[in-house]
């Protein structure tokens, strides 16, 4: 696909993901959803599922598929929307989001047939798991790649750093860690709650090949996903905006997990073009 055409395609996916995330959030009414962090990783997921990842929805167990592991598990609403976009989930299935007994709720549960590699929810556990997956794929000489999405708040967890150290130690050049740096966590700004200073510097110090970019820039995302190091694990520090694309949600911690009224929903939808 030529660059412009691909850009437009990814932009279209991003647009659809935002609409669906908002629709699902409104649909669950007062139980609310993790909408802010879902919206911040839209372009990252659109680029991954629309361009980067190798997968076949008709052969979901193919050993040589790329693996995508959502470590910031509360953004499952965005993952489900992406899986629906590419055909792993049907609209009818995802319409069951957060209904009693539905397999689709605030955190994803591993189901390879639906393209879900990991049972997320407990922060940092996806990254540690991904290190093991990457190690196994290297052992099996699979020519695939393992992508993990973390949140910046998630980087407060000690296990993140144990895992990063081990990824570099085992030379996992088949691993790319993306950090959705939206600058907010449940209680407020990450700068105030636990200041990581420069995550890019920290990842470099841990032996990663690091790209520090605007995480909503589809061209940049595409470019750095293509720049994989042959020796070291890769990291993309993607600077994003929590609640991106909805004026009243952007950079407001209250939308980490929020309830949309009808008025707010209509306003949010009207802002999507």
């Amino acid at each position: 696909m030529p660059n412009m055409e691909k850009y437009n395609y990814l932009k279209e996916i991003s647009h659809k993901l935002r609409l669906r995330i908002l629709e699902l959030t409104y649909g669950v009414k007062k139980s609310g959803a993790h909408v802010g962090g879902g919206l911040s990783c839209v372009e990252i997921l659109a680029t991954l599922y629309g361009s980067v990842l190798k997968y076949d929805i008709n052969n979901p167990l193919d050993k040589s598929r790329d693996r995508f592991i959502l470590s910031k598990g509360h953004s499952a609403i965005a993952l489900f929307s992406a899986l629906e976009q590419v055909g792993f989930l049907t609209k009818e299935e995802l319409d069951q989001f957060e209904m009693n007994g539905s397999p689709y709720y605030a955190h994803a549960s591993r189901n390879l047939l639906k393209g879900i590699e990991f049972s997320g929810g407990s922060l940092s556990l996806g990254l540690s798991f991904a290190v093991g997956v990457a190690l196994a794929c290297k052992r099996d000489n699979l020519n695939n790649h393992i992508y993990v999405l973390l949140g910046d708040g998630e980087c407060d967890e000690g296990l993140v750093w144990e895992s990063l150290m081990s990824a570099a130690h085992f030379n996992l050049n088949n691993l790319t860690v993306i950090v959705d740096c939206n600058g907010l966590q449940s209680d407020g700004y990450t700068l105030d709650i636990m200041n990581h200073s420069s995550l890019a510097d920290k990842f470099k110090a841990f032996g990663f090949n690091v790209h520090d970019i605007d995480g909503h820039d589809l061209n940049e995302l595409q470019r750095v996903f293509d720049l994989k190091d042959t020796e070291n694990p890769n990291a993309i520090i993607a600077h994003t905006v929590k609640g991106k694309g909805v004026s009243f949600m952007e950079n407001d911690k209250r939308w980490h997990h929020g309830v949309l009224s009808l008025n707010e929903y209509e306003l949010a939808i009207s802002e999507q073009k």
Partner: protein, 325 residues
Amino acid sequence: MIEINKLNARIYSKLGQSGAAFGVGLIEALNTSADIIVLSADMSSTAGLDRFKTMNPNLFYNVGIAEQNLVGIAAGLSSEDKKVIITAQAAFVSMRSCEQVRQYMGYMHSNIIAIGIGAGFALTFFGNTHYAIEDISIMRSIPGITVLSPSDAGQAAKAIVAATELNAPVYIRFTGTMNCPVVYTEDYDYKIGESICVNEGRDITLIATGSMVYNSIKAAKILEEEGIFVRVIDMHTIKPIDTKVLKDSIDSKLFVSVEEHNIIGGLGTAISEFIVSESGFPPLLRLGVMDKFSHPGDYAYLLEQHRLQPEQIAEDILIKYKSIL
């Protein structure tokens, strides 16, 4: 297959439970399960893995002193169809990485065999930070995890082989020190979930696990001299617990559980959970670590503090037995 005889039972005992399991059992397990990978949190030499590592350098990873990541990496490998054995000190694999065990082994049902070395008081002068008196309780309360506690070194070797054949998440706790006592000098069938009667007796049923099986047999001999006959059960599988043997022993006048583990949440609790919901069972005397931290010392000194030496076990049983007659 690990076959026990008088000679190798003595050799295994010299190695201790961990040494026999990793030095002998694991190498045997490789014959039937080719795709075994072993991970350790900087405990491979302590665990007795040196022989395995030398023979199979490509099947071993040291993840450093990082028990949480140990379980996470193991789960990732397991998700790609590897059979993974992990080892760390029992206190740390059950507590430092408790949530990882729950998430990956419990919730995600990763086929990991987690081996806690140095359970109970095996780490003597290292002190309370290194004693594991809660591990059975923790592991047992996580859905889907099989919990094993071998009674001697030869059984530890059999347990690791059986666990690799199970294809389910398993926790194995290794108790005792090097030169641990021998319970079995002849070969026997070891089946996960099926306890073994190691001494027959009509009056009392004594159910023991791990290091306490040997002490219980000795206690039974002491009681025999008093004219009290004690059936001793090696409850090597704590979850799922062998309820059949409990039912078969219902005519005993007293049940006793003995474990090198806190009296809360371990073997005694598991037995009580079953018998309280049935009728006709005798009272249960639970012997174990007395729900308190210990004064560090050698192994015998620690057992004495909690009245887990054979003479003390026999004494306490006798008092209870006389009180209910």
